[in-house]
C-alpha cells in the first residue's frame, strides 16, 4: 500500500476557524445547569471541524464534562452552527486541563479569558 500518511499534505490546513464572535455564548453558558461552568475568569472553547462525527462530539462532552445529553447536544449544535462554543469555565488550571482532554479526544479546543469574544 502506498505510504500516504508519510507524504506531505496536498494543502496546508490553515486554521480554518470561524473567528466570528458569538454573542449568544455567554447567555447560553450562564443559563446552564452545571455549576462548574460559571465560576472562573477562563473558558474552554471548542471549534468546528469537518471530521469529528456529531455523535462523537456529544459523547465527548457527556463523558468528560458529565453534561446531560440535551446540554451536550446543544453545545455540539452551537459548535457546528456558530463555529465555536464555550464548553467550560473556571480557573486557568482547570480550562488548561479541559483543553488537554479535548485534544486527547481529537477535538480542536483553545482556552481564553472570559469576555474575549
Amino acid at each position: 500500500m502506498s505510504p500516504w500518511l508519510t507524504t506531505p499534505a496536498m494543502s496546508r490546513s490553515a486554521s480554518a476557524s470561524a473567528s466570528s464572535a458569538s454573542p449568544g455564548a455567554v447567555d447560553l453558558a450562564a443559563a446552564q445547569d452545571e455549576a462548574r461552568a460559571v465560576d472562573g475568569p477562563w473558558c474552554t472553547v471548542v471549534w468546528n471541524d469537518p471530521v469529528n462525527l456529531m455523535t462523537y462530539v456529544v459523547f465527548v462532552f457527556r463523558r468528560h464534562f458529565g453534561y446531560s445529553r440535551p446540554r451536550a447536544e446543544q453545545l455540539m449544535r452551537q459548535v457546528h452552527e456558530e463555529g465555536r462554543a464555550i464548553v467550560s469555565r473556571g480557573s486557568r488550571e482547570r480550562v488548561e486541563r479541559d483543553v488537554q482532554a479535548m485534544h486527547t479526544y481529537g477535538l480542536r479546543a483553545t482556552f481564553e479569558k472570559t469576555g474575549q469574544d
Binding site: M1, S2, P3, W4, L5, T6, T7, P8, A9, M10, S11, R12, S13, A14, S15, A16, N48, D49, P50, V51, N52, L53, T55, Y56, F59, R63, H80, E96, V99, Q100, H103, T104, Y105, G106, R108, A109, T110, F111, E112
Partner: protein, 211 residues
C-alpha cells in the same frame, strides 16, 4: 463483510471484521503512530526523561527539565491537527505546548498502540473483535485520530469537503469506466476514501452500541 458493533450478553462490545479490514485498520493506526513519532521527534528516550525528572540527582532533574522544553512544533499538517495550538495568542500556545505536548503525544501513541494490539489479538481472518468499555473509549479516540490524518491527506478542511472528494471520485470512476484506464494516483486516494468511510462507520457503530 464488516458487521456493526453490538453489545453482547456478557456486556462486551463486539463487531465482526474481515481479516483484510483488521489488517488495514491496524496498519493505518500504526502509520499514524509512526507519523506522530517522526514529526514530533518523540522517537525514544521519553521514559528516560521521565525517570530523570524523578531522579535524586539535581543535575539530572535539570537536564530532564530542559529536554521537556524542546517540544517540537508539528511540521506535518495532519500532526498539527492532532496537536493544535491551545490558545490564540502565541505565547500562551507555546508555553502550553512545551508543558503538555509530550503527555498528549504519549496518550495518543498509547491509544493507537492499544488498537493495534486488540486487532492483532482478534486473529487473522473473518471474526469478532471484542472490546470492554475502556477499550471502546480508547478505540473511539484512536479511530478519530486516524480519521483526522486521512481527512488531512484528502484535503478535507471544511464541512462538506469529504462529500466533494467522494463525488469527484465517483465522477472519476465513470470517466475511467468510459475509457477503461485507471491511473495509480486515483487508486491511492480511492483506498484512503474507502478506509476513511470504513473508520467513520465503525466509530459511529461503536458509539451507538455504547448507548
Amino acid at each position: 463483510m464488516a458487521h456493526a458493533f453490538r453489545r453482547r450478553g456478557d456486556g462486551l462490545l463486539a463487531c465482526r471484521l474481515d481479516g483484510e479490514e483488521k489488517a488495514i485498520i491496524a496498519q493505518v493506526a500504526q502509520e499514524t503512530a509512526d507519523l506522530i513519532r517522526t514529526d514530533l521527534g518523540v522517537e525514544a528516550g521519553t521514559g528516560a526523561i521521565r525517570r530523570a525528572a524523578d531522579s535524586e540527582d539535581p543535575l539530572q532533574r535539570l537536564e530532564a527539565e530542559f529536554a521537556g522544553r524542546s517540544a517540537r512544533e508539528p511540521s506535518d499538517s495532519a500532526v498539527s491537527r492532532l496537536f493544535p495550538a491551545a490558545a490564540e495568542d502565541a505565547a500562551s500556545a507555546d508555553e502550553y505546548r512545551r508543558l503538555g505536548q509530550q503527555d498528549l503525544a504519549e496518550a495518543k501513541l498509547a491509544d493507537l498502540h492499544r488498537v493495534v494490539e486488540v486487532l492483532d489479538g482478534a486473529g487473522p481472518g473473518h471474526g469478532e473483535v471484542q472490546v470492554d468499555e475502556d477499550d471502546a473509549v480508547t478505540m473511539l479516540r484512536a479511530l478519530n485520530d486516524v480519521r483526522i490524518v486521512l481527512a488531512d491527506r484528502l484535503g478535507v478542511q471544511r464541512d462538506g469537503d469529504f462529500d466533494t472528494v467522494r463525488m469527484m471520485q465517483q465522477i472519476g470512476e465513470q470517466v475511467e469506466g468510459a475509457d477503461g484506464g485507471e491511473d495509480e494516483e486515483h487508486v491511492g486516494s480511492d483506498v484512503v476514501i474507502a478506509v476513511y468511510e470504513l473508520l467513520s462507520w465503525l466509530q459511529e457503530s461503536l458509539l451507538r452500541s455504547m448507548d
